[in-house]
């Protein structure tokens, strides 16, 4: 249990690097390795999250005599080693990545089995998982950059995996280029902070920040690329390109990768810059809120236009990210007003963070159902599809669960998180809450169109041969569907034991600093 943080990254890395070797033994050996590695990775992730939620923040210092020894005797009070600091917010993200990666791997074992280059595919998939886990667990800013690069490079390779007459390659290149520019920006910011404060550890930097002009420049260089990577409007353009061309299993994981960037954005604003921003909390809160509202509205209105089902869902991913930005943005905006924070700020943040968990589950599910349709029909064009409800009933049921959840229809999980956002944001600014509700109505309208186009009507002659997808794919979809239903029917345990501690981890930033530097 002591080495769980190290194993969290080591397990998927080990799986990735051994994949080409295992792959030489044949398809069955590769599939078994993938399954074993995925179960092991998710188990490690869930065990670590359990430990954090039951005992508090977990520190892991790589190379130290004791895993929790953040400050060696001769270091002069500077944490010199790479440190993983897994608090409740990190643990929430670890849970999301663990559940999603397990569902995705189960699904992909059959869905992507016809493609060539399986060793490379799964190596990249596990590298992507390792990158996500690293991003949300590390307490070191440079280490965060390294893991961000791992997710970007493996993500770009996976987006381009199908080639698709060059379309997927083009999308992969766009993703890689934008990710590289964003990562360079982050690297420059890290250089600026290191040059001033001689530290890379987030907690140490947070304790030393003076909010000089250079710190302000570094802040912009950090948050804008992360906002772009999470798909916030008006930097969302890469999202429909990448999400629509990647294999569906990968798209579900790319959603989690984007959410890891969202985590980074929140970590920078709350944990790193938190206190020095105290006179600008309202400004930066509104910065997130405006990004959120733009993302919600532009995302959903662009989605309604689409006829490619995955492109449509990609725009909805942009739109749903808007809810998360809105909820947490309201929390940041009222961070300086204790009364407002306790009255509705924490609830808004809880709604935003709960929506991250819910979105990963139902959007992952929706992308997997789109992949199932493509697997059987070979098209993503909604104008050509139709009548598949007769031959693919399970896929239709899973799609309905995902669609109702994303539209915020009770009793599914999307409703629970959206209700928290609606009611709390209404007390901050009713107009924002009304926009959020209108976006939900448009989301429902959009998914009614998709449901009708894919499943309704008499069976079409061209899809007479279509039948339900293999069991492994159904298990992957069913796994996510069960989580969507359970988190919808019983939101309270999730909020009490996962979301509220995550909100507290963001709001009470001193705990994050004290865990490394001591002093309590």
């Amino acid at each position: 249990m002591r080495h769980l943080p190290a194993l969290l990254v080591a397990t998927p890395l080990f799986a990735a690097f051994f994949m080409p070797l295992i792959g030489r033994a044949g398809q069955t050996a590769r599939s078994l390795w993938v399954l074993l590695a995925s179960v092991a990775t998710s188990t490690v992730g869930l065990l670590l999250a359990w430990k954090v939620f039951t005992t508090g923040t977990v520190l892991y210092v790589f190379g130290a005599a004791a895993a929790g020894q953040a400050l060696p005797m001769d270091s002069g009070g500077i944490p010199i080693r790479i440190i993983f600091e897994v608090d409740a917010l990190s643990a929430l993200m670890v849970v999301i990545a663990s559940l999603s990666s397990l569902a995705v791997t189960l699904y992909s074992l059959v869905a992507d089995s016809k493609s060539s280059g399986q060793d490379g595919f799964y190596s990249m998939l596990f590298l992507l998982v390792a990158g996500i886990f690293g991003m949300v667990s590390t307490g070191d800013l440079f280490n965060f950059f390294v893991f961000l690069e791992i997710t970007s490079l493996s993500g770009a390779a996976l987006v381009a995996f199908r080639i698709d007459k060059g379309v997927a390659v083009e999308a992969g290149l766009k993703y890689a280029l934008l990710s590289t520019v964003g990562a360079l920006s982050i690297l420059i910011a890290i250089g600026i902070l290191f040059g001033q404060y001689n530290a890379l550890n987030i907690a140490t930097l947070a304790a030393r920040l003076q909010f000089t002009m250079l710190d302000k420049v570094a802040l912009a260089l950090l948050i804008v690329p992360l906002a772009m990577k999470c798909g916030a409007v008006p930097m969302h353009f890469w999202t429909p390109d990448a999400y629509s061309t990647a294999p569906s299993s990968i798209t579900a994981l790319l959603v989690v990768s984007s959410q890891a960037s969202l985590y980074g954005l929140f970590r920078i604003l709350f944990s790193l810059y938190g206190d020095v921003l105290q006179f600008s909390w309202l400004t930066f809160g509104w910065f997130l809120i405006i990004l959120g509202v733009l993302s919600m509205f532009v995302g959903v209105t662009m989605a309604i236009l689409q006829k490619d089902v995955k492109r449509l869902m990609a725009y909805h991913a942009v739109s749903q990210t808007g809810y998360m930005l809105l909820g947490v943005g309201v929390g940041l905006a009222v961070l300086g007003n204790r009364e407002a924070l306790d009255a509705y700020g924490r609830t808004a943040m809880a709604g935003g963070l709960f929506h991250i968990l819910n979105h990963a589950m139902y959007k992952g599910l929706l992308f997997l159902t789109a992949g199932a349709i493509f697997y059987r029909t070979g098209t993503r064009n909604l104008n050509k599809l139709g009548g598949l409800g007769h031959t693919m009933p399970w896929t239709m049921v899973f799609f309905m669960i995902g669609a109702l959840a994303i539209a915020g229809i009770p009793p599914f999980n999307g409703f629970a998180s959206k209700l928290l956002i609606y009611e709390s944001v209404f007390r901050f600014n009713p107009f924002l809450s009304i926009i959020a509700m209108i976006v939900s109505i448009l989301t429902l309208a959009s998914f009614v169109k998709v449901f009708h186009s894919m499943f309704m009507g008499a069976p079409k002659a061209e899809y007479a041969e279509a039948r339900e997808v293999p069991k492994s794919m159904l298990i992957g979809m069913g796994f996510l569907a069960v989580i969507v239903v359970v988190t919808g029917l019983m939101p309270r345990p999730f909020i009490d034991h996962m979301i509220t501690p995550a909100v507290n981890a963001l709001v009470d930033r001193s705990d994050y600093i004290v865990a490394i530097l001591g002093g309590k």
Binding site: K216, L382, A458
Partner: protein, 114 residues
């Protein structure tokens, strides 16, 4: 009913079980009303066919409405908005970078003024 099923929102509460109960009651009432309908219609006759403005029902899925034909009214009423927003999605990566640089510049200004 403050149980594991009840979520508090700060302004009220949400209980999915109560909602399911209400849904079940509404469903039962609907089914009851439906059961009171006439049962003396002739199966496989004109009485059993969908009414499509007097036209025959298309065969072999021919009546399927393509996705692009849906929400025409909404799209038409939002034409002014779409005329401005859709062309921004050029698909050209250098345009994507311009937006990134633009937002970065704006954020720098906000940051420096903070």
């Amino acid at each position: 009913m403050n149980t594991v099923w009840t979520m508090t929102t700060g302004s009220g509460t949400w209980n999915p079980l109560l909602w399911l109960l209400a849904f079940a009651v509404a469903l039962i009432v609907s089914l009851f009303i439906r059961s009171k309908g006439r049962k003396d219609y002739k199966v496989d006759s004109g009485q059993d066919m969908p009414f499509i403005s007097g036209n025959d029902e298309p065969k072999n899925g021919g009546g399927h409405i393509p996705a692009s034909n849906m929400y025409w009214g909404f799209l038409e009423s939002m034409k002014g908005y779409y005329k401005r927003v859709v062309p921004l999605h050029t698909g050209v990566v250098t345009d994507y970078l311009i937006w990134f640089v633009g937002v970065m510049a704006l954020t720098l200004v906000i940051g420096l003024m903070a």
